[in-house]
Each structure stands twice: as C-alpha cells, then as structure tokens.
Symmetry: C2
Subunit: 772 residues, 2 copies
C-alpha cells in the first residue's frame, strides 16, 4: 500500500516527484473521454521509467495467439488494445539542454488530476545547472468534442536567457508493451508538416483501422501571440515542427497544442484528412479557453448527477470520486460498438475490451447515473455479438443456435486462451442474461427485452440446455467441467453458482416468453420463426432441467457447496494464512491454490448477491459466514459484492471494511499492480458497494427500496440516482435519511420496508429503523 498521493476532495495530487512510482501515478492521472484517452505521461521528453500510452476505443490488433501447448479450440487471435499516437508530446530545449526531469535538479514538482474539471495539471521547477525554468502544463481530452485533445504548456525562464526550442509532435512510431511477437502494429500512411500544421495518418496491421491525427499550435510570449518561423520535420509515422524563441529572464513562453484524432470506424477513410483538418482548425479558432470552459461545464453536468458526497472522511470522498471519475472517462455510452475495458484508457493489460465485468459490476452504475440509453447500448453490444457467440459455441461443439459469449472480446470473437477459462468459465453467459433482467427491472423498459434481448436469452438457454447433462447415477442434471467466478478452482463439477444461474436463465427466459406471447403474440411468433425456435418442444426440456438440476448441498450444515467435493478440502480461514504468503497467487503454485479451500472472489455468494430475493436473509448470513472467511479477495472484483452482502445481513463493520478495500484500491495501489493501469471495472463495483451497500438500494416490482446506514466515522453522505423519470438525491447522516425528489412527478418508495411517498420537488426524512 502506498500513501504518497495526497488526500483531497476533488484532486489526485502527487506533490514532489516519485520517480519510483511514476508508472503508478501515470495510471492514476490518466485522462479519457470514452473515445480516446492516455496515461499521465509527461509532455516533454522523460528518460526515466514510464509507460507511454495513448489509446483509441475500439482500435485493436488481433495478435496471433501465443501459448506453450496448443489445445484444440483455442482462438487464433487475442485482440489487443493498441498503444496509438502520442499526441501530447512536446520536446523542449533550453539553450542546448534537452528538458528532462530525470536530468536536472528538481526544485518543485506537482502533478494534479483535477477530477472536477477533467484536466491534468502539472507544475515543476527544474535546475538545469546553468539555467532554471518553471513549467506549467495542463491538458484534457475534450468530453464533448471527443475527437479533440488539448495541451497548454508554459515555460517561465526563471533563471535563463537565450533560445528555447519547442517541438510539438505527433508520433505513431510507438510500441505496445503487450505484443506476442515483438511487432509494431502501426503502418505509416502519411506524415507531413507544413508551416506548423502537422498530420500523421497510420493504419493498423491486419485490422486496417486508419487513424488521422492533426496538430496545430499557437505560441505566446508573456501572453502575447507570437509567430516565429516553424521548421517542419517529418519521417515515417511522425510529424513535428520546431520553433525557437529568444527569451529574457522572467519571460513566459507558452504553447497551446490543438489535436484532432479521427478514424475510419467513424468516418469515410477518404474523408479522414479533411474531417480531422477541419476539426483541428475549428478548435484553434475556438481557442483553448473556450474549449476548456465547455469541457469543464460538461464535467460539471456529469458530476451533478453522478457525484457522491461524503462528509467526515476525505480519503473516502477522494476514493469514491476517483472511481466515478474514471468510470465516466472510460465509457460514455453513445457508441453501441464500444464497451468497458478492464483497464479503460489507462494501460494495455488484459488486452481485450469486454469481460463479464461489464454486466456484473458496471451496468448498475450507468443504469442509475445516466440516461437509460447508455445502459441499453451496453446490452446492444451483446446483441450485436450474438452471431459471433453462436459461432463461438459452434467451435466448442454446440449447435442449433446455442450461444456462448466469449470470456474476453473486442469484436465478439473469443480472445482468451486458457482452456480452463476460455472453454469452462461459462457462467459469463449467465451474467449477460442477468444484465437484461437488471436493465428491465431497473428501467421498466421492456422494449430491449422484447425487441432484442429475448434472442440473446434464447441463444443462452439453448447453450445451457446442451451443456448440462443428465447423470444416470444421480437421476439429475449436472454441469461438468466448469470454472466458476472463483478462478481458484478450475474444471470442477457442479459449481453451484453456474448450475444456479443456468437454471435461472431458463426460468427467466421461459417467463419472458410467456409474457411476450401474452403481450405481443406477433413478435412471439416472429421470434419463433426467426430463430427456428420450437417453444413447446425446447421449453419442455428447459422445464425438465429446471426441475431436476442438481445442486451440491450439505444437509448437516444447510449449505450449498461451491462445487462437488468441496468438503473434502482442508478447510481453513484466510486469517490463518501468514502475511508472507499473501497474495497466494504470487506465492503458491497453481495446483496448491486449486487444492486449497481459498476463494479468489465471490462465487456461491455471487449467486446470492444476484438472486437475494430467492433466499432468506438467514440463509445468506449462514453462507456469508461460511464462505467469506475462506475468501482471499485476490480479485479486484471481490470486495464490492461482499460489502453489499455484509450490509444486507447487517454486518456494517464488514461492509465498511470491504468498501474501503475497493474504493481506494488504485489510489493506495493496494494490489501493487496499478502501474499496469487502473482497475476500471472494479470501480463499477465500488459504486455498487456504496449505493447497494450503504444505502441498500434495490428495485423490486417496479419500486425503489432503501435500507440505509452510515459508517460510524462519517458525518453524512449523499448521492443522486436516476430512477425511471425521477432524479433522486439521497442524503444520510447520523440521524436518518433524506430523500429529495428533484423531478416533477411524485414517487412511492420503500425505506426500511416502509412504503413512503415523496412528492414532486419534495423531500422526505426517515429516521433509521433498527436494523437486524
């Protein structure tokens, strides 16, 4: 755990440079706007440790799979997030010295992510020996004009006079850290610089995504525009212009860099040059200040609805805002082709874009804090991939429209290549079905379900109906050879969670089909025709499976077992493990982890989280007390689910403990891996842990429910959610909870299971009831 980041309500501040953790800070200070993003690298040359990274959503490379031992069925490619054009770069020379923080004496340094306004600020003062300069930089990825990025960079010649040279550039000559065969992935198409207007066009290998980056810049000496000669330079995949300015001591030389980045997924390939050129011209005309204001206003708009306020705990306040900020930076939901990568725009790790994390951990955040169209687009993403999911299932031997969604994907094709995950972690199909239910339940909007979702659900159910098998020995259906959410077990039989969600999928889909037949018989028939779906025939088998599914159960302790044979394990508590062997995945061989009882992340409990209404609280408590103590939480996705369940069973201390583990995971570099990038999808979990945990928010039968409590050391907290046509602000303090209905329609809702009504633009107050 690191603690060099200053606690601040709205900012992430590194005061004084920490080169040993530079890659961590780069991750923390990443900027993005859902379309593009980059890590918190420096503009000027830096010869120390860094991970240069600039990314474009949906621009990937299918890297040829690399494995030790090929298994039949492995995908041939792993789609990888690509490091793209470095557009922030400005090389600087002070006299004859290259400006490089690693090379001088750093008199002051401050890097500060301003989450409120969505900008990254930096200030430093460097003694270069004969001279000294003060530098200020600010940059942003415009949150409304998504193809625009801006950098403002000022050098004060605090102890220098002479020539300062600036070379703003665009550079596609970049390497991926994550490459299987040490290749570069970009092919240069064009690179030109003319009178300081630079353009570089490059294309990805294989996928042939074409990207055009345009650059213009303005110069100011003591805030007065100047126009020194621009010496153009270009080479393959790189274009730049150099200017030299004579400065006197005390002068401030500033450059504003306007960049546009456009690509062939959004524009005609032939039009890229012109579109990009027009955009950057327009940006320059508008000016940095105007664009900044527009950007900050848009962020302010986002915060108005998605902010969570905590009084009495700055660290917690910073933590939750950090999570919300990065979620908003990563995915904005306008483009249904996109999804939420595990590292967003903050790193290359985990290469592919989409995991079941989106459905299981991120969807609720977007459901509650943004227009429903955004969550709907996340569902549309899977609908668009249905054909590929059917192909994917086909590769594994399933047929007749059975769909298996990939574990990791960019295009709908499977990218992952560990057999125990790729082929066996099939519960992901369940989460994709669950998200349809979650969306429909939360929004009340059945149109996605009826127009699209049921096709996905039928594909998934067909998969389950083929994937189960009837055990003659048990006279029940079993599911053999799976990996559950707890990846510290591989290739187990009858993982309770998988069996449960499989049956749930069948039940839910069956019910939805019955409803559809009642409500829209035409669509029902159309669906049967389109999918060659024989309702009577296929659902007869589904019914049989629902009725006769086997669930491993221990009668004596009244416990569902995580999988067959769980009780043969040597059962221990995670607390019995000594500190030096934690995390176990870094200290134990894989087989030892598999044999142990230790659980990476919620598994049986994940099911009880999803389907809590199907269990008594006492059941959930019993299972929580059984499984949580064996859980090592070595997935970033683990604590959030446990926080919510702990709140549900009334264990507020545990809920708070689990919440803290998730909220400041990256800020404190809890798992020592933030340098690779941020844990974006776990941030959705943090939000859930807050809203579903502390406030106990649920939706049942079209009604909102709250069961709020407040952690002991907090004064108050408040947050807003959208619920259908309402915008609500929930505030909790020591005395109770207030719910303001900011919309112009009254709303009935439950607080501590009491039905209450809050009028339009009204507020209700409710004291805490005694919790169980």
């Amino acid at each position: 755990m690191k603690s060099y980041i200053q606690h601040h309500e709205w900012k992430v501040i590194e005061d004084g440079f920490h080169p040993q953790w530079n890659k961590v800070t780069e991750s923390l200070c990443s900027l993005g706007n859902g379309y593009m993003g980059h890590r918190g690298n420096f503009e000027e040359h830096y010869s120390g440790e860094k991970l240069q990274g600039s990314y474009l959503a949906g621009i990937y490379y299918p890297d040829k799979t690399r494995v030790g031992w090929w298994k039949n069925g492995y995908p041939e490619y792993f789609a990888k997030v690509l490091n793209a054009v470095n557009w922030i770069g400005i090389d600087v020379k002070i006299g004859e010295e290259v400006l490089d923080i690693a090379k001088g004496e750093l008199l002051a340094f401050r890097r500060s992510l301003d989450m409120k306004n969505g900008v990254l600020d930096r200030h430093f003062e460097l003694n270069l020996g004969p001279s000294a300069v003060q530098v200020r930089s600010q940059r942003l990825c415009h949150i409304k004009r998504k193809e625009i990025g801006l950098v403002k960079y000022s050098i004060r010649a605090s102890d220098f006079k002479g020539k300062i040279a600036l070379r703003p550039y665009l550079d596609f000559d970049v390497w991926n850290e994550d490459t299987n065969y040490d290749e570069q992935f970009w092919i240069g198409i064009d690179a030109r610089s003319e009178q300081g207007k630079a353009v570089v066009i490059a294309e990805t290998k294989k996928t042939k995504f074409r990207v055009a980056a345009h650059l213009r810049f303005e110069l100011f000496l003591n805030d007065v525009p100047i126009a020194p000669e621009r010496i153009d330079f270009q080479r393959e995949k790189y274009a730049a212009s150099t200017v030299e300015v004579d400065v006197k001591q005390g002068d401030v030389l500033s450059i504003v860099k306007y960049v546009s980045i456009v690509h062939s997924e959004n524009h005609d390939e032939d039009a890229l040059f012109k579109v990009g050129s027009d955009l950057v011209e327009e940006a320059e005309m508008l000016s940095y200040e105007k664009l900044y204001d527009e950007h900050a206003e848009a962020w302010s708009e986002k915060w108005r609805e998605s902010d969570i306020l905590i009084e009495g705990d700055v660290a917690a306040q910073q933590g939750i805002r950090f999570n919300i900020f990065h979620l908003n930076q990563t995915y904005s939901g306008e483009d249904e082709r996109l999804n939420i990568g595990p590292k967003g725009f903050t790193g290359e790790k985990y290469g592919g874009s989409t995991y079941w994390d989106t459905e299981a951990y991120c969807l609720p955040f977007y459901l509650s804090t943004a227009d429903k169209s955004i969550a709907r687009n996340l569902l549309m993403y899977r609908y668009r991939h249905l054909g590929k999911a059917i192909e994917n299932a086909g590769k594994l031997g399933f047929n007749s429209g059975a769909a298996l969604y990939p574990m990791v994907t960019m295009t709908g094709e499977e990218c992952h290549n560990e057999w125990e995950i790729t082929f066996e972690e099939i519960h992901r199909n369940g989460a994709i079905a669950y998200a349809i239910h979650d969306y429909t339940r939360y929004t009340g909007d059945k149109t996605y379900l009826q127009e699209y979702g049921l096709e996905v659900l039928i594909g998934i159910c067909r998969f389950w109906a083929q994937r189960v098998q009837f055990s003659k020995a048990k006279q029940q259906y079993v599911i053999l050879g799976v990996t559950g959410p707890n990846e510290y077990e591989n290739n187990v039989n009858n993982n309770w969670y998988t069996n449960y969600i499989a049956v749930w999928c069948l039940r839910y889909t069956y019910q939805c089909l019955l409803d559809l037949n009642k409500e829209q018989p035409e669509r029902f028939n159309e669906l049967q025709d389109k999918l060659n779906f024989k309702f009577e025939h296929e659902t007869k088998l589904w019914g049989d499976i629902i009725e006769k599914m086997y669930f491993p159960y221990n009668e004596k302790e009244k416990l569902f077992l995580q999988q067959d044979g769980f009780l043969d394990k040597h059962l221990m508590l995670a607390d019995e493990l000594s500190e030096e062997i934690r995390p176990i995945h870094q200290n134990w061989s894989w087989d030892r982890i598999l044999r142990s009882c230790f659980i990476k992340q919620a598994d049986t409990l994940q099911g009880m989280f999803f389907f809590e209404e199907e269990f008594d609280v006492a059941d959930i408590r019993r299972h929580f007390h059984y499984y949580e103590p064996m859980t090592v939480h070595e997935s970033s996705l683990s604590p959030c689910v446990h926080a919510i369940l702990a709140a549900l069973i009334g264990d507020h201390d545990k809920a708070y403990e689990m919440y803290l583990r998730t909220a400041r995971l990256d800020l404190d570099d809890y798992n020592n891996d933030t340098e690779d990038g941020l844990h974006i999808t776990s941030m959705g979990g943090t939000w859930m842990a807050f809203v579903k945990g502390f406030s106990g928010m649920r939706v049942k039968n079209d009604k909102l429910y709250f069961n709020p409590f407040i952690p002991e050391n907090w004064q108050s907290y408040s947050f807003k959610i959208r619920f259908r046509s309402h915008l609500l602000k929930i505030t909790a303090d020591k005395n109770g909870v207030q719910i303001s209905n900011e919309s112009d329609m009254p709303l009935s809702l439950y607080v501590h299971d009491q039905l209450l009504k809050v009028g339009a633009k009204q507020m209700l107050k409710a004291p805490y009831s005694v919790m169980i």
Copy 2:
C-alpha cells in the same frame, strides 16, 4: 495410414521417391548409436520438404519458457533436444548443375534401412537434362565407436562426362524447428579446413556444451584412390573442402567421409580438438570396410539376444524388428547420465529427454534383453536426480525431503509447463518407484534398492504423505487435483490409479525398510541419519494412509471408478464415435474431451497392469470390459498395456488387435505424426505387448512364468530373454512352446502355471493348456 513402405523382414524400404512423405521416411530411416544419431536426410542438397536433424545425447538447450498465461510455479526453462552439426552433408555439382533430387527427373530411387547391419543405403538415378548420374550412398553411426560416423557416397557418370565437384562439409549453422524465440543455439568457436581436413568447434548458448566435429575424406575413381587438389573453405560454424574431378562417361567417383564428434561432457574441453582429430585419423587408417564389418558384427551381437522372429507374417516381423532396432539405437545404457527421449535421435518433438515412459514402458525391454547394468543405469539416472526432485517438490510447497520427479526433464529439473500436467500428473512418481520394484523383482539384485533405491523411495513416500489429505467428510485420505495417466481428464479428485500407486509406494517402501532393517541394520540406520528419516514416526503416518485411503468405487457394478464423479458422465463407447471426429483431440475442444468419458490411454487398467497379482483375473476382466471400450487409444502408449491385459484375460483377438496398433505405429504412420520423429518409448511397449502379452512372461517370487499363445495367422514366433544368469530362447508354434536354456545352469520355471525344469543347454516342450 500409409502403406508405401515395403514389407521386408529386415529392411525398411522406400522404393520410388515419395516426396510428400519425405519427412516420414526420414524419421523411419534415422540412425543412432545411443550417443548420437540423425534423421534419414539426404547427403546432397535437397530443396524439397525435409526436416534436417542431427542430435547428440545429453546436449540440450534450456529454452526460456513460453506460455500464454504464466502460473506461479512454472519452470523457467524447457530443456530442448538440439539439432546439432550436420555431418553427413556432401554438396555435389555435375558440371554446372547442383545435384538435387527435387530438380531433375528421377529415373530410380530406393532408400533402404538395413536393420540387420544398422546402415542406411540409398540409390538413385537422376536425369539432369543434358546429363544423368547414378548415386549410391551408405552411412552409419558406429555402434561400438560411438563418436564415429561414416558416409560412403558414389556417383556413376552414367550419361555425363566432365567435371564433378564434391564438397563434403561440417555445418553447425543449423536451426532448431522447436525454438520458443527463433534463436540459433550454437555459437561458433572455431571452423577450419586444411588440406581437406576440416574441424568445426561450436558451443551451445547458456549450457556451454562444447562439441568438436572433425572430418576427413578419401576419394576414389573407379575404386582407385585419387588425390585431386582440395580447396578449403570455412565460415562461421562451417568448414568444407571442394574437390573437382574430371570423369568420363561410365566412371564411378566415390567419396568416403570419416567424421568424429566429441564433446565436453565426455572429454576435457581443451582436449577436444586432439581427441577428435586422433579419432578421425584412426578411423581413416582403419578404413570404411573394416569399420563397417566391426559395426555389422556388433549389430549381429545385439540381434542375437534381442531379436524376435515371427514366421508367417512379414508385416509383423518387420514391425517388431523395427521397434527393437530403434530401441537399441536410442539407448545403449552405458552412460548413466542419459535416458530415453520420446523421439530418440529421430526428431525434436517433446523436447525433453525423460518422461515416465522410461520406467513404465521401456525398462522391461532392457531388463530382458541386455545386461542388468543397463537397466540399473536407468535407475541410477533417477537416483542422481533425487536432489532436483526434492527441489522440484519444494517449489510446489512440499518439504522435509519430499521428492516429486519432473514430468519431463533433461537434468532433473522440470521442463514442462502446463499446470494440469506439470503440477498435477504426479502419478509419475509412482512409476519411478515401481521401476525399482520391477528391477529388483526381475534381476533378484537388491543392491540397487538398498544402496540407492530406498533413498528415492523415501523421497517419493514423503511426497505422498504430504500430498494426500484427510477428508473430514469422508474420514478417509483423499488426493485432490490430479491428472492421471489418462490425460483426457485434468485436475480430478481421487484418480483411482494415483491413489492406488501412492498407497502401493508406501506399502512397498515400508516392507523394503523392514527387510533392510533385518538384513542390513547398519545401512538402515545410516539411511535414517542421512535422510533425517524417523522410521517409526514417518511410517506411522504411512500406515494410517495405507489403511484409510479412499478409492472411488461403484458397489453395484463392483467397479473402481477412474475418479470421483466418473459415473456422472455420459457414458458411451468409442465405437459410437463417427470416424470423422477421430482422433478426438484433433476435432473436439479440450473441455469437451475432458467432459466426455473417453480415455486416452490405460488409467485404471494401467494400475491393474502394474499390480495384476493384487486382483483376480475376473476383476481385471470386468474392468477391462468396462474401460477399454471407452478408450480411444490416442496415446501411442495405450495399445500395449491393453494388449497385455487382453492376453491375461484370455481375449486373444483383442490382444492381437492391440499389438498390431503398437507394432507398426510408425511404419504405417498410424497417427499421422511420424514426420516429427518416431515414437521411441512406445516401442518398449510393443516389446512388452509381445513378450508379456503373447508369451505371458512374468516374474513372481524369483520364478519366471509363461502363459504363451500364438496369434492365429502366425506359424511361429521366437525370442530370447535374459533372466538372471540364464539366456532363454522361447519358441511358440501351433503345437506348443519350446523353451531352450542356452545357459549352463538349470532353471525351474512355470508354463501355464505348471512348474517345469529345463536343464543347462536343454530345451523343454510344452503343449498349450486350455486358456480361460
């Protein structure tokens, strides 16, 4: 299945060139002498498809592991068989034309492996357009002078006059096909050619094995020695000399190439040049003919004892000799540092040298057909690796002298990197213990056991004692998370074979220790001290495990189950699988294979093969009839064990069917993978299938047992075995069996469970009894 190889009792003949299968023929025609070997490549340049390969036993490269996803505990390196110096090469020019079979019109071609004499002959006639030549070549790896290789190459200018240029060479500038990072593994140290005497010295990267190859050659025109000018040439890792000879039509130009290859594992590095130079000089002095005679005589000696004669079935005759020939080429047993690689000197595949195949499938061949010192050296190999096996177990979290032998190794370190095999296929430990028992039982020699073997056994038992765990639920010991011999199941619980052999190891070792304490109390005490072995204390736990081990069992069918949950599978017969999905490992995804009931190779039955005396024949029959029909025999090691058990239970047709699958596996390229090299270790299984299957040979209580039968379409078969101080020849024909005692001591043995005595230099005849 291919059938272009001619059936012949003593030869493997390709008549007419089959370029599409050239790599298969190259594998089949490999030569070796236990020290070095090479594939049946051509001497002259060949521009068609080939796999150039020349190998030196024990000369390997630890290639850095390549995996898709790293798991903690993976070995960092995979020791790989190295393609070494190409010493057979002779470039030929006829006038201005490079001699290349791929480039002219081939008028005749015959490649013929002479197994009787251990040489590879080739003859071809090539029309080069304006000219035509006839070529004959012969070569050998000298079976007694192991560091010597010879090539004799003659060109008849059948329709040509003019200059023929010959360039014999040594070439270390070779590539491995199997390299993780596309590297060359040899570094050139010296390469020189002086007056036709060439030497190349090269060293392996990392391991720094230094190898010196020396070359001399003689020339003859129409059998008369000639001495044209030798134009020397060298470059890095390569040395050659060119001679040009004017020939008249009908002239025969011949070259004899003498090569020595010596390395730093056997000689001082500094002496390599001189040793190699002396050796090659001596070889040249002796002449090709003399060396050939010596070589052929040595092979004749080998055949005298290890041959198996089959009358009435040329294909079967060729098959069994082919197996015996390659076993004798691969391992000669003089060097305890060496072992039997799965491909011998015939290819690179499976990289490492030693698998459990050696103990489970190859040891019996060497026990019965060679001096016991040879089998003992195979055991010493493991004794020498005990320290590494303890280290290996340590990496997986075991301690106190627990030993886990690696799955694949060259030096004792684990090379393999699939977690489900590397970490979990732990039954290999059992086979290594079993081999000690097998050796002791067969030879009656307890000295290995007492002086070395018990240390190995204690290490193995300590591993089992830590690897089992006590299930509170079952109140028995279980072994979780293993892969049994059937690799079509991964990470299963309570694999019957593994549990059984674990208990057997404990029982056997305990008994051996009791015996030792009686027979050699001093050694017993010394052992306790040396290993810090607390006999009473440790064997108390062993006893508890022996008593309380859990074995999955189905009471109703009286069947041991391959593993927990086996009966939940959808049980099918292999015959129900359609042909187009066989082999399933090429057509089904891995998870589907794992979920299926299909068995790759004997698993439960492997245990019944090892420990047949602990079961009734009726038990074995029941298990055979249950498991064999679910077995797809997709391991080359599968049919042999089934052949032996089929013979045991009296199913002679099945025994013959299984025997045929193993005996001609490579000759007919049954599995379509012979181009990678031959299945050397399965050849040991073939020999066992014959001797333990058809003749029913066993050793119990120091006595030999035979239960012979003869396949219907054979006239007779005969083979020899060594048994302690005896050499026996067993002949079976339609009427019965004859056993000749070629030694000068009488012997009592059992035929069909009748105790018979055969005097020194005597023969006994026994008719077939009625078999069950």
